[in-house]
């Protein structure tokens, strides 16, 4: 089977993630969707590495994971602080800043 | 590199003196009295300098004199270079003349609370310095810079010292001019790019750019022309880009209105002469009909609207719009008579309309209203004021014997051979001019006494007042100071009406040079004369 399917899959995952960001209200879930997008990218990176026959893609995937982890740390911190304040994790509740 | 020619110190002084003055006046603003005196002193000194510069000027000499130049932004070949030709010289002289008068006229005006005379006059001096710079700049970039900076003091003069709707007027004025300026900026850069393409290194020196741009193909010239034209047409202003002027004039303090109409607007027509014709000869010829139409429309439209105004100051604005129509007509009729006429028109309009505005200011100071309907029969109370209004009016309807006649006559007779139809229409404007001037004079000065303030002073409506008595009442005739302010203008109005030669002699060579750069020739040739470019 050709690697193209993996590419399509990763595109699909990426899209799902993006759509998730748009439709889900809970900040945590939204954040998880973003993680999903990153991992979709990882998939395609690895696939391309396979296609191009070089390791760089795979290594990049590791980097992405690291960065994602860092993001999680920061993100959860922020989300926690606002959750403690508002007693809700719904991103729609925080819209004091507008217009 | 920095170059300078004889008399350049004069020009430098002309530029710096008002700046110093502004600084000093600001420093003194704590005490109105001293600040006022300082401002007056500086403006008078500036005027003296201008006179000296005029005397120093060699009409038969080089096109640009008293020049000096420094590098500013070598990367773009931008210089700080100033010089005057005949046209710039007369305008600078007019500025020098008007500013002291404006200061004198504003001597006792009441300002909005929290504002000091010092700040007011300092801004005026600053504006003076900038306008002098605009007329004297010989580097297009520098010209543009000053052209924009010039807006800021005026913006504050209108905005903080003006009438009820001053905010609206100030912002409108600024945005109009700023938009025009930005469009011009596009053209300025365009010219520069053209220069880079042609001789590798770009320059903003006016003389250089003229060489480069005037040889560009028609289409390029048209686009660049339009960019400059937009800015100048807004400044001048030509219909239909004029609507900022009535608001600005109506809201600005009298003195500022004088500077606005008498000096700032002239930058537009000056730009026609200094930039449009020499830099874009082909485009100028191509688009002349457009400008002529706008000009003639302006004459008729402005005159008719003037008669339709209820507010005296708006009236003044529309009168100027009509006059600017004449000036534009003269410039784009492409004959040296008409062009000289336009330049003298710029001078004379500053004098005549300047006086008209000042006199109206004195009327308003007495009647306490800007509505024409609040006045009538004032001549009985203030005969001298009436006489002044009439003189100013007669000059702005360009009656022979007043300065304006010479210029209007030159514009019309010079334009006729090339643009007969436009000229005929404009000539009809003469009748309208008489109409609006006499209309205003009748409404304010003649007939039975009208208006609360006046009737109060005259004691009962429509009563025949004995001026001796009227003078004792609230409405007094001109004070010594006011007479002193108006006297020089009256002298000039009559003097230049009979002996325009001094002005004509200074202006004509510059106009010839412009005609020649634009590759134009007189329609009516007196044979022996042929143009030689300088």
């Amino acid at each position: 089977m050709t690697p193209t399917y993996y590419l399509l899959l990763s595109a699909l995952l990426f899209t799902i993630g993006a759509v998730g960001v748009l439709v889900r209200r809970n900040a945590i879930v939204v954040f998880m969707c973003i993680e999903l997008m990153l991992n979709a990218v990882n998939l395609s990176l690895v696939t391309f590495a396979r296609i191009n026959g070089s390791l760089d893609g795979q290594i990049m995937a590791f980097f992405v994971m690291v960065v994602a982890a860092a993001e999680v740390v920061v993100g959860l911190a922020i989300i926690m602080s606002i959750f403690r304040t508002r007693r809700t994790a719904s991103v729609d509740d925080s819209n004091l800043l507008k217009y | 590199m920095s170059t300078s020619s004889t008399g350049s110190w004069l020009l430098a002084a002309l530029l710096l003196l008002p700046l110093v003055g502004a600084a000093v006046v600001v420093a003194l603003r704590g005490n109105d009295k001293t600040a006022k005196s300082a401002a007056l002193a500086f403006s008078l000194a500036e005027f003296a300098l201008a006179v000296v510069a005029w005397v120093q000027f060699e009409p038969s000499g080089a096109r640009l004199q008293q020049a000096f130049s420094f590098d500013w932004i070598p990367a773009f070949g931008v210089h700080i270079s100033f010089a005057v030709d005949g046209i710039a010289l007369v305008m600078i002289a007019v500025i020098g003349l008007l500013v002291p008068l404006v200061i004198g006229a504003g001597w006792v005006d009441k300002l909005p609370e929290g504002r000091t005379k010092g700040g007011f006059f300092a801004l005026i001096l600053l504006e003076q310095a900038l306008t002098v710079g605009v007329f004297a700049a010989t580097d297009v970039f520098l010209f543009y810079v000053l052209f924009e900076i010039m807006l800021i003091p005026m913006y504050f003069l209108i905005g903080s010292y003006g009438g009820a709707r001053r905010q609206y007027a100030a912002v409108k004025f600024f945005l109009y001019s700023f938009l025009g300026g930005l469009i011009m900026l596009a053209s300025v850069i365009g010219c520069y790019v053209l220069a880079v393409e042609q001789n590798g290194t770009g320059t903003f020196e006016w003389a250089e750019l003229v060489k480069v741009v005037s040889t560009a193909p028609l289409e390029t010239q048209v686009w660049l022309f339009l960019g400059f034209f937009a800015a100048f047409a807004i400044k001048a202003p030509l219909v239909p880009l004029h609507t900022w002027l009535p608001d600005a004039t109506a809201e600005a303090p009298i003195g500022v209105a004088v500077l606005l109409v008498g000096i700032l607007d002239k930058v537009g027509t000056f730009g026609f002469l200094r930039y449009l014709l020499p830099m874009f000869p082909l485009a100028s010829k191509e688009l002349a009909p457009l400008v002529l139409v706008l000009a003639v429309v302006g004459v008729i439209y402005g005159s008719m609207l003037a008669t339709g105004q209820r507010d005296i100051k708006r009236f003044l604005a529309y009168v100027s719009i009509a006059h600017f129509g004449f000036i534009a007509l003269g410039i784009f009729a492409f004959s040296s008579q008409a062009m000289v006429g336009s330049v003298t028109y710029m001078v004379n309009h500053s004098i005549a309309t300047g006086m008209l505005i000042l006199v109206v200011g004195m009327v308003i100071a007495r009647g306490g209203s800007t509505r024409v309907a609040d006045y009538g029969g004032m001549a009985k109370l203030t005969p001298v004021l009436a006489a002044m209004l009439l003189i100013a009016g007669l000059s702005s309807m360009s009656l022979p014997g007043t300065n304006s006649f010479v210029s209007e006559f030159l514009v019309l007779i010079g334009s006729f051979p090339n643009a007969p139809v436009y000229t005929i229409i404009a000539t009809v404007g003469m009748v309208l001019a008489a109409l609006y001037v006499l209309w205003l004079y009748q409404r304010i000065m003649q007939g039975p006494v009208r208006g609360d303030a006046l009737v109060g002073a005259a004691g009962g409506p429509g009563t025949m007042v004995d001026p001796a008595v009227g003078a004792k009442k609230a409405i007094a005739d001109l004070s010594g100071r006011e007479k002193l302010v108006l006297a020089p203008l009256v002298v000039l109005i009559v003097g230049l009406g009979f002996f325009p030669k001094p002005v004509l002699d200074v202006v004509t060579p510059a106009v010839d040079a412009t005609m020649c750069q634009a590759a134009l020739a007189d329609p009516v040739q007196s044979g022996e004369r042929q143009l030689q470019c300088r």
């Binding site: 819209n95 | 000289v340 029969g377 006729f416 007939g447 004509t508 004369r529």
Partner: protein, 651 residues
């Protein structure tokens, strides 16, 4: 044509006394300046100075006259160059004076009559606290008028032309407290400006085609121009003349001008300024004499004829002393225009009639002034009557002027008017009959309305006895002081003798300027015409006697009158016409334009601003504050970008 050539050739450089010609302008101008600047300080002696300057000018004019007569006829055209006024390359407008028989004639008339009227005004304005200013204005007028006739080019003429217009504006609006006076003044100036446009355009045409505006050059080269140009210039000049001289269609301002003090009416609106049109056409005779100018001349004649009829007809119906005289002036100037329109055959007669008219019409006006002075400024002739006994001198002088005007044999009018009528007939053909006939008819009408005036004012019952003037005072008619009667007497003498004296010598005195007087012989011999004229005038006077002399006249004008009278009372609807054609449309247009400017032009600008503001206000609602909508907009944006990129690449 021939006349023109040697005209240009003959211009001499002024020398000797003629070099001082600028004094003619300077003296009155100086007087005016001093009086205006000195202000109230000059109240004491202002009138004296004012009169003195004009009298001095007159004296100098007389000297200059004899100096000129001492020269050979061909050397009598002289120019004095004062300074270069406006000079740019091909355009050179010099400020110079042309001293030739024509201008000298006018100078004498202006300064002469001017002096008399200054003297008269001393008395007439004695109780006006602004008399000084009045004299200043009069001086200003004299100076401007002299510039008009003395200038050696069309631009200097234009200068004087507008100058007298200004003076006339100031003097008509003298009683500026009254709205009607102010309005009349404005009207006069505006209608004059309309004429001036014509004059100005004529000047532009000269510059375009001939390259100069100086008489010498223009008259020299005018012959080489195309017929179109010549006719155009001719008609444009005529337009100017119509404005100044109250000729059809610009006649409406002259009657209103009577709002000014009577001396003004006498000097400006009878004797001098209003005849400037005649001067202009006579001055331009080298143009009008050209065969190509035939059509222009015809137009001139038509205008003259029409005007003279209009004047007479309206004159018959008015009840205002001065307005009747005003319309009489209109029609008399009509005669002059007709005369100069006749070309070489008529120039001299036009000027002749102009002079005699200057005498008797000024006299008539001064008489009217004297009457009104004695009658609390009562101008309604129906409220006068039987004043002959009360003010004998006024009566006699006035009657002499009256006789002169209606052309009583061997008084001045007889010579001048008959000459014109004869010349009109001698035009020959149907034209001759038409214009001659009109002129003849005019003579009859003139006699009629003047007689009516005479009867209603001086003869019949004193209808004023049991009336009060509007300010409630009773009338106490009395003869005026000597300063007023003296000028009247002098002018009366003039109106009696001037014609006889001048008719002989004037034509050949003027010939250096106007060319030789061409004597043509029409279908009727001069004697026949003379008899005819006298007869018709007699008939006119007779009818007037029949109508007004025998019956008692109502104090108020009868309202139920026939159409012609109503029409005449309404100035033959001239004003209505102006109203309908220009004034009202103008007002409407102005209102419309003001609307357009506010709502349209400025509205557009503010509209754009408002539009931006509004759209901004709406667009910022898109910034909902919801993260997810932001994310959506980002996603949408990126999809667009990518789609666009791919489209650009693959399309």
């Amino acid at each position: 044509m021939t006349g023109t050539i040697n005209l240009a050739a003959e211009v001499q450089q002024a020398s000797g006394i003629a070099n001082l010609a600028w004094l003619l302008l300077a003296l009155p101008a100086l007087g005016a300046a001093v009086l205006l600047i000195a202000g109230r300080r000059a109240d004491k002696w202002g009138h004296l100075l004012g009169s003195a300057t004009v009298i001095a000018a007159f004296v100098y004019a007389v000297l200059l006259f004899f100096d000129t007569t001492s020269l050979a006829a061909d050397d009598r055209t002289r120019e004095a160059h004062l300074f270069d006024w406006i000079s740019i390359h091909s355009l050179n407008v010099e400020f110079g004076l042309r001293i030739d028989p024509l201008s000298l004639t006018f100078v004498l008339l202006i300064t002469g009559v001017g002096s008399l009227i200054h003297i008269y005004s001393i008395g007439y304005m004695s109780d006006d606290r602004d008399r000084r200013r009045f004299f200043a204005y009069l001086n200003l007028f004299v100076s401007a008028m002299l510039l008009l006739v003395l200038g050696n080019g069309f631009v200097t003429l234009y200068f004087g032309w507008e100058g007298v217009g200004l003076a006339s504006y100031l003097l008509i609006g003298w009683y500026q407290g009254k709205d009607f006076a102010a309005t009349a003044a404005k009207k006069a100036f505006l209608m004059n400006r309309v004429g001036d446009v014509g004059l100005a355009l004529a000047i532009f045409l000269m510059f375009k085609n001939i390259g100069s505006t100086q008489y010498s050059v223009v008259f020299d080269k005018i012959g080489e121009q195309s017929t179109g140009v010549i006719v155009a210039i001719g008609i444009l000049l005529l337009l100017g003349a119509c404005g100044k001289s109250g000729q059809f269609p610009l006649q409406a301002w002259l009657p209103d001008a009577m709002a000014g003090p009577t001396p003004v009416s006498a000097l400006i609106h009878a004797a001098t300024m209003v005849t400037a049109g005649v001067y202009l056409i006579a001055r331009s005779n080298p143009l009008y004499s050209l065969p190509q100018a035939e059509d222009a001349r015809l137009v001139v004649m038509i205008v003259g004829a029409v005007t003279l009829l209009i004047g007479c007809v309206i004159g018959c119906a008015y009840d205002d002393f001065k307005k009747v005289l005003a319309y009489s002036t209109v029609s008399q100037i009509g005669y002059m225009i007709l005369a100069v329109g006749l070309g070489p055959a008529g120039y001299a007669f036009g000027i002749l009639h102009l002079l005699t008219h200057g005498f008797f019409k000024a006299g008539l006006f001064l008489g009217a002034g004297s009457v009104m002075h004695g009658m609390n400024d009562e101008g309604d002739i129906r409220r006068l009557g039987g004043l002959a006994r009360k003010m004998p001198i006024t009566f006699i002088t006035w009657t002499l002027g009256y006789l002169a005007l209606i052309g009583f044999p061997f008084l001045s009018g007889y010579f001048s008017k008959d000459a014109i009528i004869a010349a009109a007939f001698s035009e020959g053909g149907s034209r001759g009959w038409v214009f001659g006939g009109i002129a003849l008819l005019g003579a009859g009408l003139t006699a009629f309305y003047m007689t009516r005036l005479l009867i209603l004012v001086f003869l019949g019952k004193p209808r004023w006895e049991n009336l009060k003037s509007e300010d409630g005072r009773a009338y106490h008619p009395h003869e005026s002081g000597w300063t007023m009667t003296l000028p009247m007497i002098v002018l009366a003498v003039g109106s009696v003798g001037a014609g006889a004296v001048l008719s002989g010598m004037l034509p050949e005195w003027l010939s250096p300027t106007l060319g030789e007087l061409v004597e043509e012989h029409g279908p009727l011999s001069h004697t026949v015409i003379a008899i005819l004229t006298v007869a018709i005038s007699a008939i006119g006077a007779g009818i007037a006697f029949a109508l007004f002399g025998r019956r008692e006249q109502p104090v108020t004008r009868p309202q139920r009158v026939s159409f012609p009278v109503r029409a005449a009372r309404a100035d033959l609807y001239g004003n209505h016409l102006n109203e309908a054609l220009f004034a009202r449309p103008g007002v409407w247009l102005t209102r419309f334009l003001v609307f357009v400017d506010n709502r349209g032009v400025d509205g557009l600008v503010n509209g754009i601003a408002a539009g931006l503001g509004g759209s901004s206000g709406r667009l910022r609602r898109l910034q909902t504050g919801f993260v997810r909508s932001y994310a959506l907009s980002m996603l949408g944006g990126s999809i667009l970008v990518i789609a666009a990129l791919l489209m650009v690449r693959f399309a």
